[in-house]
């Protein structure tokens, strides 16, 4: 977690930054004038806590998107470090290369071995580039699938932590079949014989998110988003301009409470007030019991039932009108047994 003096602030976090600056001034003044300002400082610190709560209680959808991308936000490996022990990172898709935007490996969740997989973002310029901003290439999805199959072989539950602005839209990505890689993962995850729990911890953009997002349980952290396209790209296609991202974020109804009310996710995991970046321990601590509970419930089911329920869970998603169907005589022969499979 960043030191308070190294914290970065979003526009709407500016009141918090001002309070931090006031504290710094008081501290300097206390030092200089040799006076005890502890009480005043404590008051300001209390105000910061309240301000954090106030800000996260009234975020617009776009601000939630911004918060999900906060430069100080914990990423996948941070959650792994805070929730699991004995993490053994495994690399490579056994085919092209190791994709640094997708990480994974065995880890212990209070004694239960799981396979944990997720997109990884970097926390500084150099690392952001190395991690390709959390945008995996096909080999990243294939690496994830390899690890899931490994988990299946040894009957270990799979946990995925999703945080991506999308699958990488590059030339080589297309050459190596980005679409096919994601499609294959979706298909295989549906049929995985072990429990799968997915958590959107930050950005859940489109097929890039869904490519590791088919689970028996799908959770979202309080300040994350999940939908079919990023608000920026949606704005550029539907509004023909990059300027309408806030409107797009609103219209897409991409926030956890919307997703929960639509029945598309199972749970919203609360974050520390002000967002996960204010307290990594608390953020991971909030999530962990929900993971354990889900895995315990899922392990109690038999694999075939689990798979059937998983398919059923996604089969009912969608909305449509159903008009009364006019009865018409079929023109092709009904129930012709001659060429059935």
């Amino acid at each position: 977690m960043p030191q308070d003096k190294n914290r970065q602030f979003l526009d709407f976090e500016k009141p918090i930054r001002d309070l931090f600056e006031d504290i710094e001034k008081l501290k300097a003044s206390a030092e200089k004038n040799k006076v005890d300002l502890t009480d005043s400082i404590r008051k300001l610190e209390q105000q910061i806590v309240e301000k954090r709560r106030e800000i996260t209680s009234q975020l617009t959808p776009w601000q939630k998107v911004q918060l999900s991308r906060h430069p100080d936000r914990p990423y996948t490996k941070k959650y792994i470090e805070k929730m699991f022990t004995d993490f053994v990172e495994l690399f490579g898709d056994r085919n092209v290369r190791d994709d640094k935007a997708m990480v994974g490996g065995f880890a212990s969740l209070d004694g239960q071995t799981v396979m944990v997989i997720g997109q990884q973002k970097g926390s500084n310029t150099k690392m952001r580039q190395l991690r390709n901003f959390g945008m995996a290439n096909p080999e990243g999805y294939r690496k994830a699938l390899r690890l899931m199959k490994l988990a299946e072989k040894f009957n270990k539950p799979v946990v995925t932590l999703i945080d991506t602005p999308g699958a990488y839209p590059g030339l080589e990505a297309e050459e190596r079949g980005q679409g096919e890689a994601i499609a294959r993962n979706i298909y295989e995850m549906m049929r995985l014989k072990v429990p799968v729990v997915c958590v959107i911890i930050g950005e859940g953009a489109s097929g890039g998110a869904l490519g590791i997002g088919i689970g028996d349980r799908v959770f979202m952290l309080e300040n994350s988003w999940y939908t079919v396209i990023s608000p920026e790209n949606c704005s550029s296609i539907l509004w023909r301009s990059w300027e309408q991202k806030e409107k797009a974020a609103e219209q897409l109804k991409l926030t956890p409470d919307n997703m929960y009310s639509f029945g598309l996710i199972d749970k919203i995991i609360p974050e520390p007030s002000g967002g996960a970046h204010w307290n990594y321990d608390e953020a991971a601590g909030n999530l962990k019991p929900h993971l354990k509970e889900a895995i315990r419930e899922l392990l109690a089911m038999d694999p075939q039932t689990r798979i059937e329920k998983r398919i059923e869970k996604f089969s009912v998603m969608g909305f449509w009108d159903e008009m009364p169907e006019p009865k018409q005589e079929p023109v092709t022969q009904e129930n012709d047994q001659s060429n059935q499979y």
Binding site: P169, G179, R184, M190, W239, T332, N339
Partner: protein, 303 residues
């Protein structure tokens, strides 16, 4: 960028510039297709078509007789489900199913227009009810359930209705033990249905896995264009993935890739031949040979 590569406007529910002219003559000729054979020959006078690939000019009648493939350069024009069904089904006989499932503006999504209004307008100007039609019929005697996308309906976009219709088509296939073909022609997801449209990738893929268990073949035919959620799910999940020549197929659209890598894209990039070369297609099939080839593989699967 060629007009045909710019399918984003279609996804927004607007017709692209080149599409405008093309769909207008398709609409006129479609009237012929949908009525009797006698009317069919009577192409309105002065109806000419210019090939966007080689510039060859011929009458629409001639083009139609050639299955909307340019007689000179083999460019495969975009056609709709009515044309594909006529091409593949014996005697143009087939049963259309699940037409009663219709899109709804559940999220009250509004961009420059409301989704509800867009749907009303689209229904008003076409007799197609959504971006995919499901039909069952015979292909050279072989029973086949086919889902075929209509690009003219909001860019063939993948929304809840497409997901549900395919899902029911799978149930129908399981019940009748019939194989499934999906003819893809889509710019990608229907953004106005937000996460619901994304979840259709999961929904359809899950349903397809039931066909696997029942050992029922599923064939994906990719035509121009097949993008986004289509290629990231059932478009690439066929027991056979096949494509028409020259079709643009990919995950990310050419504009997005160009803007990301800040370079021009190589000639032939994301075309069927490119995908075949990189190992993602079983074969490419000319529209003229489509029916024969389908019947052939269906027989091979069955016998």
């Amino acid at each position: 960028m060629r007009q045909e590569e710019d399918f984003e406007a279609n996804l927004a529910g607007e017709e692209g510039k080149s599409e405008e002219t093309r769909s207008s003559w398709f609409k006129r000729i479609k009237k012929g297709i949908l009525t009797s054979t006698a009317d069919k020959k009577e192409t309105p006078e002065g109806l000419w078509s210019k090939c966007p690939e080689c510039g060859y000019i011929c009458t629409v009648t001639e083009l139609r007789e050639n299955l909307f493939v340019c007689p000179k350069c083999n460019y495969h024009h975009r056609i709709g489900s009515a044309e594909y069904f006529e091409i593949i089904f014996d005697d143009n006989q087939y049963d259309v199913m699940f037409e009663n499932i219709r899109s709804r503006d559940f999220l009250q999504f509004t961009d420059l227009k409301s989704y509800g209004k867009r749907l009303e307008e689209t229904w008003a100007k076409t007799d197609i009810t959504d971006s995919i039609r499901i039909a069952a019929g015979k292909v050279d005697g072989e029973g086949l359930v086919t889902g075929c996308m209509d690009f003219e309906f909001i860019g063939g976009s993948l929304g809840s209705v497409m997901g549900e219709r395919i899902s029911r088509a799978v149930d129908f296939c399981l019940e009748r033990k019939m194989p499934l073909l999906i003819i893809c022609k889509s710019g990608g997801a229907r953004m106005m249905e937000s996460a619901f449209s994304l979840m259709q990738l999961a929904k359809v893929s899950g349903k397809l896995s039931l066909l696997t268990d029942a050992k029922i073949p599923y064939i994906s035919l990719l035509t121009d264009p097949s993008f986004g959620g289509i290629s990231a799910s059932f478009g690439m999940l066929g027991d056979l993935n096949i494509a028409e020549p020259g079709a643009l197929i990919g995950f990310a659209g050419p504009r997005v890739i160009r803007e990301t890598i800040k370079k021009d894209l190589p000639e032939g990039f994301q075309r069927s031949e490119f995908l075949l070369e990189h190992g993602f297609l079983d074969f490419i099939v000319h529209r003229r040979e489509l029916k024969e080839k389908l019947a052939q593989v269906l027989r091979l699967f069955r016998n």
